[in-house]
Symmetry: C2
Subunit: 117 residues, 2 copies
């Protein structure tokens, strides 16, 4: 399972305990997550942002979009958020992720390429 697959899986994890575990495995303790609607640091903050997104879009799932490229400890990729079986994503996000030396994410710089109209 690639890092991006694990990242997407964490965003889809609706069980509080499993989500906290996924976040702790995927992000460093001092990791930051910033997108147009959130700017948090640490596992609890990141897990709360994920839970908030799930509450905002009930019945929707995150899927991996396009991986543009990776180099050094960086990756840039898109993700989709859509109701199951929808033809078009409701939201398209664009994330740049920086990894720490232990392979976990230490920074997510998030943007939105498509938002619900």
């Amino acid at each position: 399972m690639t890092l991006i697959d694990r990242y997407i899986a964490a965003w889809n994890e609706t069980d509080d305990e499993a989500r906290a575990k996924a976040v702790a495995e995927l992000w460093t303790e001092d990791a930051t997550y910033t997108d147009p609607m959130a700017d948090v640091a640490g596992h609890e903050g990141i897990a709360a942002v994920i839970a908030g997104a799930q509450d905002l879009f009930p019945g929707c799932v995150f899927t991996a979009g396009e991986v543009f490229d990776t180099h050094h400890n960086l990756a840039r990729f898109t993700w989709h958020l859509a109701p199951t079986d929808a033809a078009e994503p409701m939201v398209v996000g664009f994330d740049v992720v920086e990894l720490a030396e232990d392979g976990r994410i230490r920074k997510v710089l998030g943007f939105l390429d498509k938002v619900p109209s």
Copy 2:
């Protein structure tokens, strides 16, 4: 002059002393710059990367491309590198920039959307 304009101007500054001054004004002392070909920290390292790019593409100039969006302390935008008066850019870069509290850049996460064929 916007931050992106000053950023582009620094990349076009070919005088060593003026380039060092522009870098010091634009980046924090501990700033990092990472793109597919470089991964450096600090003013001297960043100035050296800029000088190296100028050496690699003599007679070319950097211009601002598209600013996708900005939020919190982040911006994502493209830049073009082309010979003066060229119709098409030779290189298109895509940068995500994080600002420190003093308004200077503390991190550039750089990618390339187009490279010379």
